[in-house]
């Protein structure tokens, strides 16, 4: 094993940068799983959907991918709200969330992924933008813009969501709905509507995250699968629903993955986040009585 300081410092830096992006990917799950307790295992598939839509708008109209994703935000929000409505009527109302709710999202994962395969094929797609080529250099540190820009946008996203959750009425209602639905009802706020809005926001983040993903790397439909474990690992590590926690956990995972890939080879990298997940679950007292 050849240890070079340059390699090491770059691994750390790229770990931080990619970690920031992972936080954006996980933000939606922090909302849906961390706060609302909905195991949306299909979230990565929606992110890939976001990537492809960004690709289409970028390829067809020359639109900047990030701009494209913002244009798509309302559509994704509507998708999320619609999915939640079905989920609520079919499962939450009947009290059958655990097995059937999981299966529902699992099915959605496959439907989304295979539809993309059938429509776009399995070739890798990529987008073009001015910031995808160049790399900034600070001494030994390389900062590829195609990772730096998504990193910065991710931080903005996390900050915006955190502000929403803590300062706005709807944000606080969302945090409250997880803990005390009755209290919300007494305030004449419909908890179902709040959850629907929250889930809509969750899927909306997938639009942006998808654009960032396809900026960082070329995308094909099954890329989403690598993210399933990552996303839940970060969400659990980050304290289930805490956005600052998510950010820190994401960077931790990013750094460890980066170090593993650099010094042990990329074939071990997937085990990092999933291994972390197992470790966290083993140590966390998420026993019979819940959190």
């Amino acid at each position: 094993m050849f240890f070079s300081f340059d390699l090491f410092i770059n691994a750390i830096v790229s770990g931080i940068l990619i970690g920031g992006f992972y936080a954006a990917v996980t933000a939606g799950v922090s909302l849906s799983f961390g706060i609302l307790d909905i195991v949306n295992i299909a979230h990565p598939a929606f992110i890939i959907l976001g990537s492809y839509l960004a690709y289409v708008l970028n390829f067809g109209l020359g639109l900047d991918p990030i701009l494209a994703s913002i244009v798509m935000l309302p559509a994704f929000y509507a998708l999320g709200a619609g999915i939640y409505q079905i989920y609520y009527l079919s499962f939450e109302k009947r009290g059958q969330e655990s097995l059937r709710g999981l299966a529902f999202f699992f099915g959605l994962l496959f439907i989304t992924e295979v539809t993309l395969v059938l429509y776009f094929g399995v070739d890798y797609r990529y987008v073009e933008a001015r910031y995808i080529g160049p790399t900034w250099h600070f001494g030994p540190i390389d900062l590829p813009l195609r990772i730096l820009v998504p990193f910065l946008v991710s931080l903005l996203l996390i900050a915006a969501l955190e502000l929403l959750l803590t300062r706005s009425f709807i944000g606080r209602a969302i945090t409250a709905v997880a803990q005390d639905q009755l209290a919300l009802k007494l305030l004449a706020v419909d908890p179902i509507r709040v959850k629907r809005i929250a889930f809509g926001i969750s899927i909306a983040t997938a639009s942006l995250a998808g654009a960032l993903l396809i900026i960082i790397q070329p995308v094909e439909p099954s890329v989403g699968r690598e993210y399933i474990g990552r996303v839940f690992a970060i969400c659990v590590l980050g304290g289930m629903g805490s956005l600052p926690g998510t950010l820190i956990a994401a960077m931790m995972i990013g750094i460890f993955e980066s170090l593993t890939a650099t010094f042990y080879g990329p074939s071990w990298a997937p085990a990092v986040s999933f291994g972390f997940l197992l470790l966290t679950l083993a140590v966390r007292p998420a026993g019979l009585l819940g959190r």
Partner: protein, 332 residues
């Protein structure tokens, strides 16, 4: 019907199916039949932990693959181990890993358990991909013998073996269902806290469930390398297997051994037909839609729909016996 009688009846039916396939003459039937029988075994195995106990295993592919890779690991033995021996070994390995997984993860609440099983599958996959002895990421080649006397083509032998495994799986599931263990599993599914308070040793039962479930899946996976000749970690461990293992019991019905059988036969056959007529990618689309559709519209699966239909009929002899058998376990 007593379990040993049931076992013999099923063997008889399996034998009849085999004979029909031989009579039909088309070798492709054996390839397709192998896959369907395999899914019967895997779906039934999954259902023991998922349907009876309510613990969703997303990593079923891992146990299946463990069985397959055990076969690969033993491949270089001379003389090569016969398939029945490989099945036993594969089942044992998977059963032990299932036990270990259970011990580590069964204290986790529902959703966390499911996610943990997914994590375990990927960790196992990464270990295998980095282990050169079983081929690593390049995959492993297994030479399938040409024939197996007196059946002829080796694939016929594989199909027969898999039919036998399917029968073993459903007999086991039925045996569990009608035993004290089955009642215990049902309470774990319904309300674990109340189960404990009623004296059910939930952890021990869950470990039994994961061990049996894992072992059966491993047994189903053991002959697979001979069937497919070229084993690749990414596809063997993939989510594609997991989704079928989950979809078939959910579509068929999770509370009884009949459900996974119905689901596997229907969905498995549908997929084989789709692969031949359209493409194999469409398979997963079909599974996805059926899965989503059934959990929304018919949460108790095909068996559930059937039962509902029966109960609306005037209670004739058939009706009454059905209702009697419906009260779990009161049947002789």
């Amino acid at each position: 019907m007593r379990s040993d009688v049931f076992f013999l009846v099923c063997l008889g039916i399996g034998g009849a199916v085999f004979a029909a396939a031989v009579a039909f003459g088309n070798d492709y039937l054996f390839f397709a039949g192998y896959v369907v029988a395999q899914y019967v075994a895997v779906a039934t195995a999954w259902n023991i932990l998922g349907g009876y106990c309510g613990y969703v295993n997303f990593g079923s592919a891992a146990f299946f693959a463990l069985g397959a890779y055990t076969t690969v690991a033993f491949y270089s033995f001379y003389p090569p181990l016969p398939i029945p021996a490989l099945i036993v070994v594969g089942g044992a390995v998977s059963g032990v890993v299932g036990l270990g997984m259970g011990y580590l993860m069964l204290r986790l609440r529902g959703a966390f358990f499911a996610i943990a099983t997914l994590a375990l599958a990927v960790v196992l996959q990464t270990l295998v991909v980095n282990w050169d002895y079983v081929g690593g990421s390049r995959g492993a080649y297994i030479m399938r013998p040409e024939t197996m006397a007196p059946l002829g083509n080796y694939v016929r032998y594989l199909f027969l073996v898999m039919l036998f495994l399917a029968v073993v799986a459903i007999t086991t599931a039925r045996l569990i269902e009608r035993s004290r263990l089955g009642y215990g599993f049902a309470t774990i599914r319904d309300d674990e806290l109340a189960a404990e308070a009623s004296g059910v040793p939930t952890l021990r039962l869950k470990l039994v469930a994961t061990a049996i479930s894992g072992a059966l899946m491993g047994m189903a996976g053991a002959p697979f390398p001979y069937y497919i000749s070229y084993l690749q970690p990414s596809s063997t461990f993939g989510l594609d297997y997991a989704v079928n293992a989950i979809a078939m019991p959910l579509i068929g019905g999770t509370t009884t051994w009949v459900g996974p059988l119905v689901g596997a036969v229907l969905l498995g056959s549908l997929q084989q037909i789709a692969t031949v007529t359209i493409s194999s990618a469409v398979n997963l689309l079909i599974v996805g839609f059926l899965l989503v559709g059934f959990v929304i519209v018919a949460p108790n699966g095909i068996v559930g729909l059937f039962r509902q239909h029966i109960q609306h009929k005037p209670a004739g002899i058939v009706g009454r016996r059905r209702l009697g058998a419906d009260a779990a376990g009161s049947a002789p």
